[in-house]
């Protein structure tokens, strides 16, 4: 469904992505994992074309067989990709309801959109309670629900989420992941960026590990979860003395 091939993205003179390639199959939940500064957010922004106009510098992005790496963001949204950015980015001075309405901005079918608003409010009861409140006054968790609900209003085929669990309690994190799983079961393909590797590996069907702007591993979560290096460096389960282990791990990933 989504095919990213060899993209290279620069911030002025800094190269953030050194040729990233991966694929997202229709109907799956795919996770993009990696430590701080690895380039996960940059990858999603590159796909959404939110960076400078001439980025990605190299490589291609295809969605449903169509090149999108030189399209405008709003065209990409219309093709069926929806994006929940890092840090939610709700419209703080619009009400919850107005935020949801903006999610449906690209839609022409008013009547169906009305029905969808109802279904979003049913899925996220907390939003119904707060629907006339300014979004900026919601708690972090509520804002995350709003950002997801808003993104669903455009009826996306692919939903990309950047660290949906950021700053949420373990309980709320689990709730968000359950919601993501439900959305996926309803037919929306999901590309998920996460720091919470444990959770992400539990819920995804396939995962890519990103390091320093490169994909260093790609595998099924069952396999990654049992992998010694992943256990040690992403799940934080120590198996040997870390300095030595870290070096060995660096060597390993560099030659992959």
């Amino acid at each position: 469904m989504l095919a990213v091939k060899n993209i290279e993205t620069w911030y002025d003179l800094i190269r953030a992505l050194h040729g990233i390639s991966f694929e997202v199959k229709e109907g799956s939940i795919v996770a993009l994992l990696g430590s701080n500064g690895a380039g996960k957010t940059t990858t999603l922004k590159t796909i959404m074309r939110l960076l400078d106009d001439d980025q990605p510098e190299k490589g291609t992005v295809e969605f449903l067989g169509q090149r999108i790496d030189r399209m405008d963001t709003e065209e990409i949204v219309r093709l069926g990709i929806s994006y929940v950015p890092e840090g939610r980015e709700v419209f703080p001075e619009l009400t919850v309801m107005e935020n949801i309405l903006m999610g449906a901005y690209t839609r022409k079918d008013r009547r169906n959109a009305k029905a969808d608003i109802e279904s979003i409010l049913n899925q996220f009861p907390i939003l119904r309670e707060r629907k006339d409140q300014q979004a900026g006054h919601l708690s972090g968790g509520e804002q995350q629900m709003l950002a997801i609900g808003r993104a669903l209003m455009s009826k996306p085929k692919l939903l990309m989420l950047d660290e949906p669990s950021l700053g949420l309690s373990p309980l709320l994190t689990r709730e968000i992941f359950t919601i993501i799983q439900r959305i996926n079961k309803e037919g929306v393909t999901i590309l998920l960026v996460e720091q919470n590797v444990n959770m992400a590996l539990k819920y995804s069907h396939y995962a890519f590990l990103v390091e320093n702007g490169r994909i260093v591993r790609a595998d099924k979560p069952e396999i990654l979860r049992e992998d010694k290096d992943v256990k040690e460096f992403y799940l934080g389960i120590a198996t040997e003395t870390s300095v030595k282990g870290y070096k060995r791990y660096r060597r390993k990933v560099r030659f992959r």
């Binding site: 709003e74 950015p85 419209f91 001075e93 107005e98 455009s154």
Partner: protein
């Protein structure tokens, strides 16, 4: 007597408010004051003057042509001056709008000359109507009240209930988030400038009817309306309107008691407000939680 002063002040104040709203609409989307606002209104008023005196068209037609011109002018300036500038700083933006101001002023001087003209406005400042015992009001003031109330009601409904209006507010608050909603933000900027230019042009025609028409005539009203807008807190439209009304009243009463001080009242007020409450009297802007 005092009623008369207040109601006259309110009329002028409504005009300041209207022009202040034009400034505020752009300020809200770009966070910077458009210093060419006055001259955009000035050029539009000259266009009205031109079609009225040269082609002798009826006033209503001239009014419609002028508003259409103002809309195009706003979009043109946004397209030619603002859009090519990639991420201008606040200072850069100010320079750009100042440049546009100079250009428009030069253009008006070249086309229509620097001498002062009378603007043949539909509503006269002389014709008085008695509206309540002891208070008379000229046609001009009645026109200002009616028009500004209509425009305010329209703006309120537009920004509150229309999809485009809400999208404009959304773009003001977060451009990138607006993009990922599928909002065409460039079109939003274009519409913003068109609306602002239109409202500014209407206010400018009223100002011209009260004074004279020449390439400099909007300088002072711009400064006063700007002061009024700052008084009300630039980012809120109702605040700007109230600021304009207050400014009109203050100015009129001071002007009556100490006529020689009238021209500087506006600036004394601005200094006091900026010292005491820099965000304006009525601002309640959301501050992003970090």
């Amino acid at each position: 007597m005092i009623e008369q002063l207040i109601i006259e002040g309110l009329a002028v104040g409504a005009c300041y408010g209207l022009f202040g709203v034009a400034v505020a609409i752009i300020y809200k989307t770009s966070d910077v004051v458009n210093f060419a606002q006055g001259e955009m209104g000035m050029i539009a008023t000259f266009v009205a003057f031109h079609v009225l005196t040269v082609y002798n068209v009826p006033f209503w037609l001239a009014f419609i042509l002028t508003t259409a011109f103002a809309i195009l002018l706003g979009m043109l300036i946004e397209f030619c001056f603002l859009r090519p500038a990639k991420d201008p700083t606040v200072l850069g933006f100010i320079i750009i709008t100042l440049g546009a101001e100079m250009l428009l002023m030069g253009l008006a001087g070249w086309k229509w000359g620097a001498e002062q003209k009378d603007f043949p406005f539909l509503l006269s400042v002389q014709k008085m109507h008695k509206i309540m015992p002891g208070v008379v009001l000229n046609e001009w003031s009645i026109g200002v009240f009616v028009l500004s109330i209509l425009i305010m009601i329209f703006l309120f409904l537009f920004f509150r209930f229309s999809k485009l209006g809400i999208a404009m507010r959304a773009t003001q608050q977060n451009v990138n988030a607006a993009k990922i909603m599928g909002i065409k933000v460039e079109r939003v900027f274009s519409i913003t400038w068109a609306m602002s230019s239109l409202i500014g042009a209407v206010a400018a025609m009223f100002f011209a009817a009260r004074s004279v028409l020449d390439p400099n005539f909007m300088m002072e009203p711009f400064m006063r309306a700007f002061a009024a807008a700052v008084l009300g807190g630039l980012a809120s439209i109702p605040g700007v309107v109230v600021g304009g009304l207050l400014m009109g009243i203050i100015e009129n009463i001071f002007g009556y008691v100490w006529p020689e001080w009238k021209p500087i009242v506006a600036f004394v007020v601005i200094v006091i407000v900026i010292t005491i409450k820099p965000s304006g009297l009525f601002s309640k802007h959301y501050v992003k939680k970090v």
